[in-house]
Symmetry: C3
Subunit: 202 residues, 3 copies
């Protein structure tokens, strides 16, 4: 309960059981980080956030209120997880306590599917992320979307199910048809799996 | 606050005021079960779950994080309630404190509508369940659906509003067109109000 | 922490840091009202509600469980905010901790957009309210809607994105085509920006 580094802020009404929280990270009221969970440096976990023991959160991640990050979910550096975003880790859930489901839930490999949120991506408020999929770096998932398949880097996705309706700049704005940002001026090129900054090797 | 049976686990950050919680049930952090609420045996109530005084939860039910179970909601044995599922109990809500609404809220029969979640049913993550309706046994409500009318037993429902797009096996998988499960092999037959196991009298 | 007026009820598991909470208001378990936030008289804040320091909540407002009211959100008298409603205050969010986003988040005027919920309006369960918009008095936003533009007074809005599908009476029921309420009998007239009570000057 008091294992965190001196530079971790744990609100008096939060509950931290992890020894793997990086410097500069803040846990606000009614947050619970379980033993075994890893949270990087300079993150901000909003109120009522829950981090399960097998979850992984990298550096400079912002998670707004009311988000549960389950076993199997990995969130990379600089991602933004909006309020009320819902992650999942089981495509075909039944109550594990139902006798007919005991065998399935006896081993995580029977049911646990992973989710990756790429570097700098945004998951908009109230979006639902199905499991077994990957959201590319700097993708922008619109508020209330239901993401049911992989999102390429920089994709702008809205709807239920979510569909690509454009491309997002690193800065968060929608790109023009020539992949230029009307706000910050960055330019992008098509790559095999989405977009990359023009002139960027990788 | 300490009325529960010896075999009920109440997390130190949870709040239990009910004397009707069954053996083997666990209440995790920031859960609140009100006085008068009934929760059966071997249930698991995830973090931030709220059980109002008139709610009824049967045995072996799993409720994931961030779910409020209101007066008028009944959850039968073996059901799974996903994270962030939203129940309701008023079709035409106004603030009960608004003077023009005082009369309506003076008597529960003026506004309170009930909801039933049948045995072994699954309510997927973030689904919204309108009130005055019944979800049949072993139905599978997809993540993010909006359920606005009764769901027959074993129905697989997705969308907003939710529509039947197939049929679900007891084990959680979608049945073939001949009502056989491609995973566990169970077979079903059409019944008056949905599906039932082949050869099953009721 | 103990600054509230004597007639404010603060549940022992709630956290109040504001000196601006009106008489008769109740804060239930796991609620947090920040210093600087203003909440009026005779409000009811359900469990897990969060009121940020710049938020404004007027009198007789009902906020059900699991709602975060952010800086920039104003809720007028007699409004009803359903369970799990999600407000936002940034149209293009990125993690403020991402180096490329530091400049944008250095000044609130770069990103903070306001939202107004008008007097007597209802936001249905699980609805998502984008920012920079206004919801008119007595509007009825259906459960699970995504509101992406202004709603006129008395508008009945459902869907994603939300669209006007009818008109709502003060009492919460849908009006007939002649703008009469089949339940309470009130009559309305078209006005420049929505509906108003027949014979009502304003």
């Amino acid at each position: 309960m008091s294992a965190e580094a001196p530079d971790v802020f744990v609100h008096p009404h939060a509950l931290n059981e992890s020894r793997n929280i990086g410097d500069g990270t803040r846990l606000w009221a009614f947050v619970h980080v379980m033993d075994g969970a890893k949270v990087g440096r300079f993150c901000n976990l909003g109120e009522h956030v829950f981090i399960e023991r097998g979850a992984r959160v990298a550096d400079r991640v912002t998670i707004k209120n009311q988000v549960s990050v389950w076993d199997g979910v990995t969130i990379e550096d600089d991602a933004f997880i909006g309020p009320g975003v819902i992650f999942t880790n089981d495509r075909y859930p039944r109550s594990p306590r139902m006798p007919a489901a005991h065998d399935r839930y006896a081993h995580p490999e029977n049911w646990l599917e992973s989710t990756r949120v790429g570097r700098g991506a945004t998951i908009g408020a109230g979006a639902i992320i199905l499991c077994g999929l990957s959201i590319g770096a700097h993708a922008m998932i619109g508020a209330g979307s239901l993401v049911s398949r992989d999102a390429p880097p920089h994709a702008w996705i809205v709807g239920r199910p979510g569909r690509i309706v454009g491309w997002a700049c690193l800065c968060g704005r929608k790109l023009s048809e020539s992949f230029a940002c009307p706000v910050c001026g960055r330019r992008y090129e098509k790559s095999d799996d989405g977009l990359c900054l023009a002139g960027d090797a990788g």
